[in-house]
């Protein structure tokens, strides 16, 4: 298990290195001059030059990359060109709100998706299955920002029972989470349904029935437990997607998290912030994938890594 973990982690490190290089190359290809951005258009050329030198922008690209990675290993993600704040500090402050939002978005997906999955599986190929599946499909076909805006308008303004955007406690979470839940639940519904149908055809389910177990016991102890295995894997991947997809939700609901930070950074060509957030989100995705593998091993005894 440990060896497996170490192997997985070293694989993850390779992935992160790849991500850092590609990100670095890409953001440095952005046609905007950071030094000019920092000091503004009226600043004399000498000031621009001084800032350029300070940032090490006149060094060759590979050297810049090495410097960047060196600082990275010392926990220094650089300073935002726009906000003149340490990127690490800006990111750290936003991990919490984003994690909080992502968690609830995820919960909403599960809360909507999993019961529907069980329901459609138990009524597979019946009218009820088709209707519920179609509704779930409409959900994933909605652009999240469009739905978000409509919900925001209705439940924030027309019937003002929820806050009009902004980040904060549970009342701020409700609308974004529901929006995300609606637009993502169908993935779980679909996955759980097909997984349950498969498990329901397994021999060991027949064995359980042959032992005299009730339908409820069969469903919950034998079917759902096994059918959830792929859902767990997907859940991990999904949290990764959530971290990356949180941009739209945050922009729609004016939630001040990582997605918003990254998004404004891209709008402003704020290279250190882009680098930092992209790297962090990638680390998050990689870590969650890793975590899911571990959880998977814990709940599925067949997975033996050694």
């Amino acid at each position: 298990m440990y060896a497996y973990l170490i192997r997985r982690i070293s694989g993850a490190v390779v992935v992160l290195l790849g991500i850092s290089i590609i990100t670095f190359l890409l953001v440095y290809a952005v046609p905007a001059d950071p030094a000019r951005m920092i000091v503004g258009p009226k600043a004399p050329a000498a000031v621009v030059a001084a800032v350029r030198a300070q940032l090490g922008l006149n060094l060759p690209l590979p050297v810049q990359y090495i410097h960047y990675m060196d600082r990275l290993f010392h926990g220094d993600l650089g300073t935002s060109y726009i906000y003149s704040l340490p990127v690490a500090k800006m990111i750290l402050q936003r991990i919490g709100p984003t994690a909080w939002l992502a968690l609830w978005c995820w919960v909403a997906e599960l809360v909507i998706g999993i019961p529907l999955g069980i329901y459609t599986a138990r009524h597979a190929r019946h009218k009820r299955d088709y209707i519920v599946s179609a509704v779930a499909l409409v959900g994933i076909s909605l652009p999240v920002f469009w739905l978000g805006l409509v919900l925001l308008y209705w439940f924030g303004f027309e019937i003002p029972i929820l806050p009009l955007g902004g980040s904060g406690g549970i009342q701020y979470v409700i609308l974004p989470a529901i929006t995300y839940g609606i637009t993502g639940a169908a993935y779980y519904t679909r996955l759980l349904k097909s997984s349950m149908l498969e498990v329901m055809g397994q021999d060991y389910v027949r064995t359980a029935r042959a032992k005299g177990a009730s339908e409820r016991r069969v469903t919950w102890r034998h079917v759902v437990r096994n059918a959830l295995l792929p859902v767990v894997t997907f859940g991990g991947i999904d949290i990764g997607y959530l971290l990356t997809g949180v941009v739209l939700i945050e922009a729609t609901f004016n939630w001040n998290g990582l997605g918003m930070l990254a998004y404004t950074a891209i709008q402003n060509d704020d290279v250190p912030v882009i680098m930092g957030t992209v790297m962090l989100i990638a680390v998050g995705v990689v870590l969650f994938t890793l975590l899911v593998d571990i959880i998977y091993a814990a709940i599925d005894p067949r997975i033996r890594y050694e």
Partner: protein, 303 residues
């Protein structure tokens, strides 16, 4: 969010047999209502895209003198402009109709790029295994770990926003899932005796990969690709919403939604109609994909 590769279980050797066996059942609408409804929507979409110049009542880019109110606000739906006008005084119906071309092109072409890279990587990775597999799967991990939307934004920002750059960015970044699904299928298929038989007959690697294995993984790939089309259409809209999408005046539903957001408070139709068109189109592809999945699902054969 992209699709779950787990939706189509790679561990399960994909049995194409039921598909052929089901040919006679294709008549039965009741068996696969999703497939038919989705297919119908997609068909309508394609027809609309092809015959856009015939169907659209106006030139989509034409600015009408009577297309705006005196205070510069869009005109509500009426006989001349059935879906109203946008903030430039252009006919929304015509733009929605022409927008189908862009959305469809983005959805389909970017999916084809996904498909091409994903299938080749998955096939090579799964077939050759060993270090080839290790290297390629690291690449897939990398591509999947990227915050897709952010990265597409950055890429489009660098390349400059245009139709082709948008679909290139979506295409070049979105193949990870496809590669994983194909690889999983190949891993199980290559142990199948008919593949071994091919080797025993002395067939080359290329022949085995592309003539023997590829046709047998095509089922799940088609399902995934169909769902991907809808997904990529949504991604284009997302990029447009974030300000990096198809450049006007070329109408895409994404940039129409974005433009509509600026006027929706006093002209809600500018947001509603392009949004509705997008939802219906994406739904069509999703339904078709789900229907195909059901059709190809071996579990359904026994039920």
């Amino acid at each position: 969010m992209s699709l779950s590769e787990l939706d189509i279980k790679p561990s399960q050797p994909f049995a194409p047999t039921p598909m052929v066996a089901k040919k006679q059942q294709l008549k039965s609408l009741r068996e696969f209502p999703m497939l038919y409804l989705g297919g119908f929507i997609v068909l309508v979409l394609i027809v609309v895209a092809i015959f856009a110049p015939v169907l659209a009542p106006h030139n989509p880019d034409a600015v009408f003198q009577n297309g705006l109110n005196a205070n510069g606000t869009p005109i509500a739906p009426n006989w001349e402009f059935p879906l109203g006008t946008d903030s430039n005084g252009r006919d929304i119906l015509s733009r929605v109709i022409f927008g189908s071309r862009v959305s469809l092109t983005v959805g389909v072409v970017s999916t084809l790029i996904n498909l091409f890279i994903g299938v080749v990587v998955g096939l090579v990775s799964g077939y050759f295994g060993k270090w080839v597999d290790t290297v390629l799967m690291r690449a897939v991990d990398t591509i999947l770990a990227f915050p897709f939307l952010l990265f597409a934004m950055a890429l489009v920002a660098v390349l400059g926003p245009s139709l082709w750059n948008v679909l290139f960015a979506i295409g070049i970044l979105g193949w990870g899932t496809m590669a994983r699904v194909v690889r999983g299928q190949v891993l199980s298929l290559k142990e199948f005796d008919y593949v071994q038989a091919e080797r025993a007959l002395g067939a080359s690697h290329g022949r085995i990969m592309f003539r023997i294995i590829l046709p047998n993984v095509i089922g799940p790939v088609i399902v995934l690709a169909t769902l991907n089309v809808g997904m990529n259409m949504l991604t284009e809209a997302g990029l447009s919403f974030l300000g990096i999408g198809i450049q006007p005046p070329q109408a895409s539903w994404g940039n129409m939604i974005q433009q509509g957001m600026n006027t929706y408070a006093f002209a809600p139709w500018t947001l509603w109609f392009p949004g509705l068109a997008l939802v219906i189109a994406v739904l069509g592809f999703n339904m078709m994909g789900d229907g195909l999945r059901d059709l190809l699902d071996p579990h359904n054969a026994t039920r």
